[in-house]
Symmetry: C2
Subunit: 116 residues, 2 copies
Amino acid sequence: MTTPTPSRALDHPPRDAIRLEGVLHALSDPMRLRIVRSLAAAEEELSCSLFDLPVSKSTTTHHFRVLRESGVINQCYRGTAKLNGLRRDDLDALFPGLLDSLLRAAALQADRLREG
Amino acid sequence: MTTPTPSRALDHPPRDAIRLEGVLHALSDPMRLRIVRSLAAAEEELSCSLFDLPVSKSTTTHHFRVLRESGVINQCYRGTAKLNGLRRDDLDALFPGLLDSLLRAAALQADRLREG
DNA sequence: CCCGTACTACGATGCCTATCGTACGAGCTG
DNA sequence: CAGCTCGTACGATAGGCATCGTAGTACGGG
């Protein structure tokens, strides 16, 4: 093979097709916001199975797809695993500072709700 | 009367009840994002009737209610008019820098899409 | 007191979506 | 090959939501 291990291809929207409304919609779901926070905390790509979400596997797959199709994350197969990473470069280029503000807001709210 | 012109009361979530997910959901709709951008541009409160949205009046009412109930705007009656204003103080206190990042992102995207 | 303006309430409709379970495919590992 | 793990596809379901039209309420002005 000429290609390393691309296996099945996954459709990602090009940078120009990413829409703010779509990104906000993707992040307005608690599960997806949680996923994105974990991805931002980890400095490497994470496989879907590392996330222990309180929903079924089907639903988890659904949420990752929404995040990919809205342009928030990129996904690639690596063997049987599927690696997920934030599209930081694209998001920062389109919406400078937004991702960091969102992550900071999410962290502040998590602290606030945890401590009361 | 002791009160100026409160007329009918409108329920607003207190600052502590505002949730990031709710704010993002509210802003993920193109009509509502448009409303919020207009409110941010105007330095005063605007009545609903000043917005010329491509939807019916019923739908406009619906969008303003979603914005109010998510904590993004405050509304008060003034005669027959209903004045709308961003809850900047509350949002900035809860999520520092987020509102400005969102407005900037929306402006950049609007420019990008307009000029192509 | 009547009318016009501004907004609302309500019901209907059609679409979107979060969730699940089950059955399946793709790739490693023995 | 056999079996395991990871993730997908599909169908079902229930609830949410953006939209509309119509009918109605609240308020200010003549």
